[in-house]
Subunit: 228 residues, 2 copies
């Protein structure tokens, strides 16, 4: 809620800071150890505040901070132009992992209602820079929807939807999954076959397997999978 009001979030570690700097993100200030010359070289001197290890530990949103901690502006929503992953998960680690997968496979990202804030520090950490290498925004109106269901759907490697529409993979919350309405509104249902009906996959894993197969299909047929 503070993030929604201020439009600011926290980045942790040198990798996220360098990704943000590269993407031209507006950096408000960076707290780091005085001898952290690598991080220091990434920001203009007036944005840098040297602190002790103890202060860094207290500032960090996670348990074992590797420093530095940067206060940055959350970018405005981008324009989604490619196939996408629609993230509706509450777990910040899973949300970040899906954003990382989206960046790796050339998907944009849409936030579903009820999802965790995609710019929360823990989501950024699990995203490993993916936030700054994909577009996060609203889904295209003509996008087709792909829902993952426990049984009765297509195998992910048999996906062959209309190539003239962008497609979005819907990922629901654990352990409940997608709502009945979400499944009913989907254009295509896929099922990742498992050993037994009682088995299940982590939501980020299931979404990433479907994304891997959809990206292979898109590479074959061309269209909305083009690079940004």
């Amino acid at each position: 809620s503070e993030r929604a009001t201020t439009g600011l979030t926290l980045l942790e570690g040198p990798i996220l800071l360098s990704e943000a700097a590269l993407a031209g993100v507006e950096i408000v200030e960076v707290f780091g150890l005085a001898d952290d010359s690598v991080s220091r070289s990434l920001v203009s001197p007036e944005r840098w505040i040297s602190v002790t290890r103890e202060v860094l530990d207290r500032l960090a949103p996670t348990e074992s901070p590797r420093g530095p901690i940067a206060v940055v502006h959350i970018p405005l929503p981008g324009t989604v132009t490619r196939d996408s992953i629609t993230i509706g998960v509450g777990d910040p680690g899973n949300a970040g992992t899906l954003i990382r997968t989206a960046a790796a496979f050339g998907f944009d990202v849409v936030r579903a209602e009820g999802s965790v804030d995609l710019w929360a520090p823990k989501v950024l950490r699990a995203g490993a820079g993916g936030h700054y290498r994909t577009t996060i925004g609203a889904r295209q109106e003509n996008a087709g929807l792909i829902a993952t269901v426990v049984s009765g759907g297509l195998m992910p490697d048999q996906l062959s939807p209309d190539p003239d529409r962008p497609w979005s993979i819907l990922i629901g919350n654990e352990p409940r999954g997608l709502s009945e309405d979400e499944v009913a509104s989907a254009d295509i249902r896929v099922t990742i076959s498992m050993e037994e009906r009682s088995e299940s996959l982590n939501a980020a894993v299931a979404g990433s397997i479907v994304a891997f197969e959809l990206a292979r299909w898109r590479k074959r047929v061309g269209g909305y999978g083009v690079a940004r």
Copy 2:
């Protein structure tokens, strides 16, 4: 280290407790809320200790315990008979997610040197019961090794190794990945193609994509993928 000495670990939540009870795990004691009749019905009365919400919060290995907390014996290593995932990751969430994937796709699990303790509470939590629906033990001597590399490997869907050997997928630590020695010792190298060389996937996601494809291959050719 205390786990290695005592042979005990902690399970959190009703789902893990019921999976463990179903698998015949030796339960030492269970701490739960007095009115948690579901969990209570899973254990014999002399193993149950009713506690307050405050005590439960203090006992729990994670932040937001859903209760109950069970002290259980770690099973002895099992006999690995199927294809497997060799887990060499330090992150407990990733290790547990890979165990969950292994159970879902019919793989056994091997712990690599340098990996997190696969029976740590956080690993059990991310495993979502998978620990009790697969076999964790030492790799077969005749197992072939599959390493994931950044470039130059086979596409995961082109995997077609010798079906008369069991195969194991090696998953290395983030962000370093597998060591040069591990890659050199592997029989097969696979590469998940991504948008750019700078991109990367979460270790559990990468391992799960390779496992998904290997399971599809094994289903076609028969052999070591048989149910336990």
